[in-house]
């Protein structure tokens, strides 16, 4: 059975069907989406182990005098990504089915389906052409989803647009350069040809465009500016996809093409056994996470805040990967997977909050937990994972990353990483407090209630996944072993036990630690409920220095501290981080604006022809450019 072809073609077909017939019917379109993702998921599952499996398509395109053969090759990394993408999209679809009843953006389902089918091209492409096609297929629909055809999201989506077009062009340039150098478009072949070259100026120029493309996609410093903006303007139920999946394609690209070539990087030599280029790039990862962490402190929009958190996590992943050690790669990939899970979960809870309250401003929220306990618990577990605290999955991958850094004796890097990792507490607690805790606003007291069960399903699944991976990291690490073998890394630290975390400086038995943790929790719980009684009091019956708040016109709105949490700190340090990069991209955005206005005019008048037409034109343009 032709798996990849089926998924791609089916995706395009379903997208068309939905767009043509069911655009107005949210339920049917989402059900189709769910069926599609579920079906693809099952198809993909069957491919585990068949790493030699490939699908080739005849083609009529000639490049110079080479006949191009489009081939989709099953590979471990792509498979894991694909499984996660379709699995997550499946549950996201379930969530959206409930979500969309009231807040629905019309074109999201067909475009999303298109993206999913495109992702197959990226993940399994054997050659650069398909990879690039998939890449562009991924970029454009996201722009339309983010923009939602609304004026108010225009400037935010323009950041995404400008940077990703830049990335796409860079990728094209890079592919062209590779082709020039190696006379082949096959990814694996070109890598091996490049590797056999001596480190030369060619490779130096080669890597830069690819870097730009992948770093833009993964929202790394200094291209991080699009991420928070795109997240905040995208529909609430699409944000999980951006954070959880889309930015990971950048990671995927790096693993696919940059990582094998790092030893040929533009700075020759090695440092502590790490290619010097890679060493500097792992510092780039650290800078990414520090900048994103500090910027997240002052964010008032919950989606933006979490987007910054995603950027910070991308920083960890990049750092780990660029260490180019087995442990580093392991940690990087493990953290990618963990981050996919917990960040999707976090964004889903945020979408649930948005669904019930209709605002993403944290200062306008508060006390939602009292009305949405399941959502709160999910969010809590999500942020514990995001902060890298023990019984959740975020800890396990962070442990490996730290071990990897220490293994290479990059002590300063470890200290800097600690900064970012501790900083995560600051903004995550702020989100926890401002959205879910504190005083509940009067306007939310009666109107807000828990989301329907359909929307809770992904939350439950997510909670179970986060905790079980946290306690049994082997659940993810074990299936990865073939992959590590496949990329030729010695599986020195990869363990066979389900509940052991590998490490160069020491291992950890997570199960035992979890038992101890559970013991302590049970002990304290017993202690708490054995001793004296407790009485419940209303929230405004609070310490007010002896004053009756009613006398001073102080209600719940006026008794909730949610804005300017780290004000003293921000005032001292934020200008330092905020000025330079943002200014640069603002100018960049200013010049791209004219271009954007032109596009905006096309789809402003609700003429949906514009969407497809533009995609079509661009694709023709790209192909045309290559053929010539």
């Amino acid at each position: 059975m032709i798996t990849f072809g089926t998924i791609v073609i089916l995706g395009i077909l379903i997208s068309l069907i939905i767009w043509l017939f069911f655009r107005e019917n949210k339920v049917i379109s989402w059900i189709l989406f769910i069926l599609y993702t579920g079906f693809s998921f099952v198809l993909l599952l069957r491919l585990y182990g068949q790493w030699q499996y490939y699908e080739a398509f005849k083609s009529i395109i000639y490049l110079g005098n080479i006949k191009i053969k489009f081939t989709l090759q099953n590979n471990m990394l792509g498979w894991i990504f694909a499984i996660l993408i379709f699995g997550i999209s499946f549950f996201n679809g379930l969530f959206s089915l409930g979500f969309s009843k009231s807040k629905y953006s019309k074109n999201i389902v067909p475009l999303w389906t298109l993206i999913l089918s495109a992702s197959i091209l990226i993940l399994f492409a054997k050659d650069f052409i398909l990879f690039f096609v998939g890449w562009e297929y991924l970029t454009w629909p996201v722009f339309f989803i983010v923009n939602q055809g609304k004026k108010k999201f225009y400037s935010d989506s323009m950041y995404y647009f400008a940077l990703n077009v830049l990335g796409g062009m860079a990728l094209m340039l890079g592919i062209w350069l590779v082709f020039k150098n190696t006379q082949t478009l096959d990814i694996k072949t070109s890598i091996s040809i490049l590797l056999s070259h001596k480190a030369s100026i060619h490779t130096f120029w080669l890597l830069i465009p690819f870097f730009i493309a992948f770093l833009v996609k993964s929202a790394a410093y200094p291209f991080h500016v699009w991420a928070p903006r795109a997240h905040s303007s995208a529909p609430a139920d699409f944000s999980p996809f951006i954070s959880g999946i889309m930015i990971k394609f950048g990671i995927f690209g790096i693993l696919l093409f940059i990582y094998p070539l790092l030893s040929k990087g533009f700075i020759p030599g090695t440092y502590h056994g790490v290619p010097t280029t890679a060493y500097f790039l792992s510092w780039l990862g650290i800078i990414t996470s520090i900048v994103a962490t500090v910027l997240a402190f002052s964010e008032n929009n919950m989606k933006r805040l979490m987007a910054y958190s995603s950027v910070a996590n991308v920083g960890y992943i990049l750092t780990a990967i660029f260490l180019t050690t087995p442990l580093g790669i392991e940690g990087g990939i493990f953290h990618t997977i963990n981050h996919m899970i917990f960040k999707v979960i976090i964004f889903i809870t945020l979408a649930a909050v948005y669904f019930r309250t209709g605002t993403a401003d944290m200062s306008k929220l508060g006390g939602i937990a009292y009305k949405m306990p399941i959502t709160f618990m999910t969010f809590l577990i999500g942020i514990i994972a995001a902060a890298g605290i023990f019984p959740m999955n975020g800890f396990t991958s962070k442990w490996i990353i730290f071990q990897a850094i220490l293994e290479k004796h990059f002590y300063l890097m470890a200290v800097a990483m600690f900064f970012a990792s501790t900083g995560a507490f600051l903004y995550l607690y702020r989100a926890l407090h401002s959205i879910f805790l504190g005083q509940i606003k009067p306007e939310h007291r009666d109107s807000v209630k828990e989301v329907p069960f359909l929307m809770q399903i992904p939350m439950w699944i997510g909670m179970i996944l986060i905790i079980s991976i946290g306690v049994f990291p082997g659940l993810v690490l074990k299936p990865l072993i073939p992959f590590f073998n496949s990329i030729g890394l010695p599986a020195k630290y990869i363990l066979t036990s389900l509940s052991k975390l590998p490490g160069s400086f020491g291992q950890l038995n997570t199960l035992n630690a979890a038992i101890i943790f559970g013991f302590a929790a049970v002990l304290v719980t017993i202690l708490f409920f054995v001793v004296a009684k407790h009485h419940k009091k209303p929230f405004m019956d609070n310490y007010t220095a002896g004053e009756d708040p009613k006398d001073w016109g102080v209600d719940e709105n006026r008794y909730q501290f949610a804005y300017g949490f780290y004000q003293p700190f921000e005032k001292k340090f934020l200008p330092f981080f905020k000025r330079s990069v943002d200014m640069f991209w603002q100018y960049f955005g200013f010049y791209t604006k004219h271009l954007g206005e032109w596009f905006n005019n096309i789809f402003k008048d609700d003429n949906n022809f514009g969407y497809i037409a533009i995609i079509g034109i661009v694709i023709i343009f790209i192909f045309g450019g290559f053929v010539l």
Binding site: H535, G546, E547
Partner: protein, 188 residues
Amino acid sequence: MLDKIQKDREKRQSAWEAVINYFRKRSLYMLHYCTGCGAIELPPIMTSRWDMERFGIAPMATPRQADILLVTGYASQKTIKRLIYTYEQMPNPKWVLGFGSCTINGGIYWDSYNVINKLDRYIPIDLFISGCMPRPQSILSAMKKLQEMIGKGEAKGYERYKQNYEWYKKNQRKLLERETPFLDGGEK
């Protein structure tokens, strides 16, 4: 038989109470709230000369954590309102100490238009300390006395407040939520 079980339970309970009362009397948190001029004698008691902390008495910031409320002197109408609010916020068991003559009968402010005369009409007082203002020694001895009372389970002001809640509320309402002037011809 049932009676016996009931009695046994009460016995056990009172034995338990007695044990807990020992700890209660040895650890008293007082609310950090200077309601009147008597508060000026509290710092000396806390500092090295008398050092209240050696009896386990320590100041606490909020009514939630406090065990004793000190009404240090006269209570104006505004203060009594805040005292009641604060007192009701304190969790049981809690005790009130009335400082100085002003809390007993108004003291030298007996005819003042803004100082209430009899504090125990509004909140239950466990112990009064006379004097204007009471000397540190007398405050300390009052604290010791209160500890004794707590140890014996005698200081039950908070239960009195619960039992006579209506009565206290009536008095409080009469004072604080008035809608007509007390004296004739009091328009403005």
